[in-house]
Amino acid sequence: MTAAPDAPGQPPPAQGTPALAVTSLTKSFPGALALDEVDFEARAGEVHALIGENGAGKSTLIKVLTGVYQADAGRVRFLGDEVRFGTPLEAQDAGISTIYQEVNLVPLMSVARNLFLGREPRNRFGLIDFRAMHLAADEALRDLGVRVDVTRPLRTLGVGAQQMVALARAVSVDARVVIMDEPTSSLEPREVATLFGVIRMLRDRGIAVIYVSHRLEELYEICDSVTVLRDGRVVHTGRIADLDRLRLVSLMLGREMGQVREEGLTKFSGDHAAAGEPVLQAEELTLSHMLHAVSVEVRPGEVVGLGGLLGSGRSETAKAIAGALPPESGRVLVAGSEVRTGSTPAAIRAGISLLPEDRKAEGIVPGLSVRENIALAALPGLSRFGLVDESRIDRIVDTFMERLRIKASSPHQKVGELSGGNQQKVLLARWLAMQPKVLLLDEPTRGIDVGAKAEVQKLIDELAEDGLGVLLISSDMEELVEGSDRVVVLKDGAVTAELTGDQVTEDLLMQAIAAPLPADAGDGAGTPPGPRKEAGDD
């Protein structure tokens, strides 16, 4: 490995000593406590898994460790000394390197320039010595088994190779701690093997690796210890070998196996009379790195749940069906006729509506009124000769405001002033105004209060009873289990199981999620006895 010119020169700490330790770390954002008295310790020469579902606080913790955020309270000790990093640069200079999920490099700059940005080798005039830089860049990449022309702009490389450049950058600064945030999410299996080789090499050199991933197989393959975060707190920390998969999943999701609970906490009434031909058929949807031959069917009047951990391909499946992501292969059929994939207008015309996961970024227009927000998508159908039929809009808006029980002072109130639950209802109304045949709901109740949640759940139920086909994505196990007639379980972008009828229980769902991939079935703990298995393509 190249010794970077300006790298800190401490000797590597002995194996097993704490390299980076935080105590009672607290960080809050307006309206949310992201980290609540978190204790965490990464030791030299070990790979430490940091896991948790969405909103658990992983990203916040990483950003505090790397100087992007400042903690409100708590202490960070690095190699025994108390530190407080004000900027990413300070953390990097101290010896903490980070590889982000999305490749965070500059696409138009060359590979070598990206590798050495900020620490370019310079000649005695202070000018960058490109010859030395290119040789060093080439050597650093060769060490990782990557052979590319380092003078090429980064964007001409594949995503995997770009990730390798990011990795080379992280390790060539002579880091003591390397943090990897879902580094494999865009890698080919061969590249994952290379990455794991590098991680083992780092570990053997006494570097502490903090590894964030949602792929259980990877965690058990590469990690030594694990810390599970949930709702900003540490719920478990220890050796990963002492924790079986099922326990790990139940810790992440916050649901106990066989937990005694009252039925009917959610407002779902349960089964619907799903009958007739499927209204939606998604066949063998494939999207590189994300989906592998995912097939899902929804009948009219049926709520089909998509289960799985974060990053298992749930949202991607919904987006591929709704035309927001173009699948490389596979078909989508609505009521038996094929829909052109990769086109949102085509999907909407065919009767597919997607309520996206992030309503702020992908749905609501806060500055517009309730009325305008509802009418937005349906406008082309509501206008004649380019003129909008105002009275028809009024009728539609009134109908939906009443039916969905949208609480607003008037149809002219700005949506930004409404509560989260009512915003979600406005979005729902927008899509219902399109008279869809299939409704795809991605986390429809996330971030809204309990009362509104129950109302949205009740609405979903009513919609299904009216004959709409619903595909429901939810990280809330209870919601998924009680709301769905069937649950299709996704893992690493492939369908691994399907739960029907009596099988739709939290226990079986968790077992299905924790189950090893079909390829290595049998070697892991907690193989599910119950669920019917559907072979994924992977």
Binding site: N104, P107, R113, E120, F130, R190
Partner: protein, 343 residues
Amino acid sequence: MTTDTTEPAAREKDASPGAEQPQGATRSERLTSLAQQHGALVALLVMVLVASLSFDSFLTGDNLENMAVSSAFLAVVALGMTFVIITGGIDLSVGYVFALGGVLAAWGSQYGTLVALILPLAVCGLIGLVNGLLIARARLAPFIVTLAAMLLARGVLLSVTDEGSTTYLVDKDAFFARLGQEKLLGIGLPVWITVALFGLGALVLRRSRFGQYVYAVGGNEDAAALMGAPVARTKIAVYTLSGLCAGLAGALNAAWLMSGVTILGTGMELEAISAVVIGGTLLTGGFGFISGSLVGVLLLKVIQNVINQIGSLDSAYQQVVSGAFLALVVIAQTWLGRRRRML
């Protein structure tokens, strides 16, 4: 992709990211990047060829020298603008800052050459610095900040010239006037100064760490920050540099005209932006080179000159042609960009 077998050869030849020839890249990719880099140069050469064949008076020493000197001032402004645009920003204030620099230099020349140079540089550099601070620290939009600075510079300009009624003259015996008047090897001093500044600018952009930061900030600001690049300081530096360049250009212009002319500089910011973009720098940032901006300035000036040569054409046509040319370049850039993404 990890086992790309391209041999890392021809390492020595390196310039800005734009000038990097992707070895072993596909042919069409190479063509695309060639077109992006040298399109303006080809257009300039064609223009010069056509003009020299059409007009006898075009390829004369006087005409060329005249064009070179009048290009020099815009070129210096465009030099600073290139840095700003590569970071993904824009500087609308340079036109009036240029005029202000000229007036301050002319006024200051009565107290000596040092004052005539230091005063405009200090004031214009300060305006640039404030622009940079507001953009980088207060995170305001460059467009609006520099628009405000433009109005401010104009206000200061009007107040020091009593609403434009006072014109400060440079004493023709002053050493300062010689900066604009003197010739070396038959070519005006402003041209030599400009050439030197461009050489220096290219060196800084290509070979200094600061230059790398400029590209990184424009290419992906978040990534640059995460890689530890001093994003705010880089932005502050480029706007300060732009202010300094505009001020210096104004001062040199005053030395050349031997007076501080208030009406000059109006619309110059747009000319400078046009020149930079025509020269191949992406308005979205992250890609561009100094030499391209020089070519862009020369191209604009040659168009202007040719239209003047035609004589029967209203000089307003010069703007029509420049505008059309700019539109063409932007269309071509978008097209090339799209092609690149598809490759």
